[in-house]
Symmetry: C2
Subunit: 206 residues, 2 copies
Amino acid sequence: MNTGPDPAPPPGDRVPRTDRGRKTLRKLLDAAAIEFGEKGFHETSITGITRRAGTALGSFYTYFESKEEIFQALVRDLSGRVRDAARQAPSPGGDSFAVERAALAAFLRFAREHKEIYRIIDEAEFVDPASFRRHYETTAGRIHERLAAGMARGDFRSDLSEAHAWAIMGMNVFLGLRYVVWSEDLAAEEIAALANGLLRQGIAAG
Amino acid sequence: MNTGPDPAPPPGDRVPRTDRGRKTLRKLLDAAAIEFGEKGFHETSITGITRRAGTALGSFYTYFESKEEIFQALVRDLSGRVRDAARQAPSPGGDSFAVERAALAAFLRFAREHKEIYRIIDEAEFVDPASFRRHYETTAGRIHERLAAGMARGDFRSDLSEAHAWAIMGMNVFLGLRYVVWSEDLAAEEIAALANGLLRQGIAAG
């Protein structure tokens, strides 16, 4: 029974209709990523975001009602860009392990260019828990789909489950934290190769 | 509730000299874990901690100078208790895989009893970044030591490195987030068995 008032239109309804609008929205999200990444949610201000974006304050309110709303949109945006980076990673002629390896290398390269993603996603746990959870659930869901595809191709063993997807995601996230955000000791390709070796053969002595 | 182990000494040299002092410190840390876990750092107050602990405000200042200081001590305390849980996990007659499996099951059981550990460690990234980093670096260091021991015993392949330790830690942390903190779909032993299968043989088709 829905007796409440009509809900406010979600952020998704205020979609830009023009190229110029899309560019403005992109500038706002990019500026927000830098501001939230450097200062954290609480120290970031809407005027700080528009100043960095080089847009009028009114442009902000064309797309967002509040700092909370642009933060939520930013988490969704980053989540989508990670997805696209992994999906578009070429793994020419490779098997399902090559797909997994290319996806991880692409994620690590993205994170190296956008280190703020870790702080923003991590802060979402406190600022916007639903977005935090959705980011990891959808990411694990995509890995689970790749595992299913690899089982169907006969590359992966047939008993893999959602929990394997969570294990692989955790592996990837922590390798990125250590070797991308905290240091750059290893190239993305080296890290991806190492993780792929673990998936391919485990760690048992030959 | 006062069933925990002896607390790690607080910062500085304000170490309790008596049993009664150790019990008071334990009560303060246990109360702080619940308060920080439920309310987060910013909403938690020193009087809220002492009220929950059933101690006088003066007792707090015997051991800590500030909310920041007890938070820091709490992260170290939880980190140490995770270490002890993993270290004391029995893996009778088993090989290095059994040791790894027992350590993960023990961590998951600990996290199931102390779900607040995730929120507290995660919030440390923002409240006390040095403690956050130290927690993961020391945890990865211990896994790395176990990998080295397993290589020396001939159970693990001989090319394992620090990065493998980070991969395994990430796997363990995310399995705990999904199957201990967010739901209790799987028993600790099932999750540990699944992760161990991944380490033992990878995910390739037989």
